[in-house]
Symmetry: C2
Subunit: 311 residues, 2 copies
Amino acid sequence: MDKLLDRAFNGDPRAIGRLISLVEADAPNAKEIMRQVYPRTGKAHVIGITGSPGAGKSTFVDRLIAQFKADGKKVGVIAIDPSSPFTGGAILGDRLRMQSHALEEGVFIRSMGSRGHLGGVSRATHEGALILDACGFDVVLIETVGVGQSEVDIIKIADTVCLVLVPGMGDDVQIMKAGIMEIADLFVVNKADREGADKVAADVQVMLKMLGQKEWIPPVCLVSSLKNLGADEAKDIMKRHGEYLLNSEEGKRRRYNQLEMEVENILRGDIAVIAEKAWNGRKESGVLDDLAARRTDPYTLAGNIMSEIVK
Amino acid sequence: MDKLLDRAFNGDPRAIGRLISLVEADAPNAKEIMRQVYPRTGKAHVIGITGSPGAGKSTFVDRLIAQFKADGKKVGVIAIDPSSPFTGGAILGDRLRMQSHALEEGVFIRSMGSRGHLGGVSRATHEGALILDACGFDVVLIETVGVGQSEVDIIKIADTVCLVLVPGMGDDVQIMKAGIMEIADLFVVNKADREGADKVAADVQVMLKMLGQKEWIPPVCLVSSLKNLGADEAKDIMKRHGEYLLNSEEGKRRRYNQLEMEVENILRGDIAVIAEKAWNGRKESGVLDDLAARRTDPYTLAGNIMSEIVK
């Protein structure tokens, strides 16, 4: 395993991919891998790209890669696939995404399923980002699925959160995303060649005013991947935000929050494993029949299991 | 507390509301309440109503209440509010929803915030449904927020899952919901007075064929709340599905799965509380500074905490 780690830390893409796979699958040595990875982390600028399905996130990420590369940065990308939680089938694979950069030097693109339980998704995503950080990528882009909790969870992982909006998606859906509006450090109005882009940008400005003044005022940036416009500005804003975080109380607070959440996530996963094991032992003794017949209740049962496993 | 429980079990709406509030807030006596509630549960037909924001779920639920009431059923409703995870502000309150039935005899409507952590949302929702069940409601309708994980989680609580679709919402968004399609026992194409309703119904049929044959073939039902059409048919299908579950292997499997998930949820919550306490104790000792400086790593730290609390 030390060899694998050495190769990954030296930038070998196959070794990096293998590490991520081991951690994603929660292999027996996953924790040991992360223990070795961790001391090398904290250097990359982790940027989350979120927004509704259909907002053009993948194409925007593709353009961003080119921008960061032009700045001489090594760029790692984790793209969360919108796989069904039931079939586990990924709709899009990394082969279909961001093709133009997938084989370039200094670029690493990885897709991950959004399937998972017990908060497993954000943990795997986070550990993937930590691995890329440790392996020398200057910028790590995380493209979320763009539905539900994964969008809000990105704040737990990313230094900079970019919300991609698009004209003509319907206000009801976008307003539902109020929780995401509040965590965005930068708004990109994508497909700005379309009618209504200025209106979306204006709406965002209004909502930002309603949210109140912050030290960092999230800029709104018009981007057209079609016309190849605006990605450079978006990249510059991201860079500026990264620098702001390095030298502000806000940045320190955010880093500490993330550290807290990291520990809590790991604890929660470890706890779930123990709870599951204890519960599996009980299930065999016909306790489900007792529950179904209301001869016992889940609260009493859980209490008994708890007193067995907890000091 | 016994008095409160008695009053609730006798159908006093204020007592029922108070019980739900205590459990939702995880009051010190919440577990004891649930222990007393549990033996009385297992009689209600719990129906989850899910679908995108804007699909008209609230209005449809309003019509369903009338249908079930006409059948002489007592109907409890839990409507999950799309509150922001950050401000905690609920966009809609129960006062604005389903107004036409809110004050009727035999109808109880309760809204719950979607805010929460550690799977707290689904636990509170589930416990609310159990309380309504124990208090004699024949039918419990749960209206989800319609975004993300909450939609898939409804299968853990509901006997019957109804997915509400609507013409003109854009295919990309609806197809993203593939994971929900697979858990629906019934599809309602709402706002069927609009153009495109037949197309949505046909698309659903195609997707159902792709998912393969099941014993229960989910019907697709056209509903127009505007023209007051189709809610009776939807109600009949739900009733039929409830009867199917009572007398099928599928039903037994589902009930047992739900029981398992109940116990696991309680366990996970209990352990999380203990872990949080242990972790809070550590945080005070400056361990976050050590993490930030990479003098230690979250994996080692979590491991130490776990060995403190677990036998």
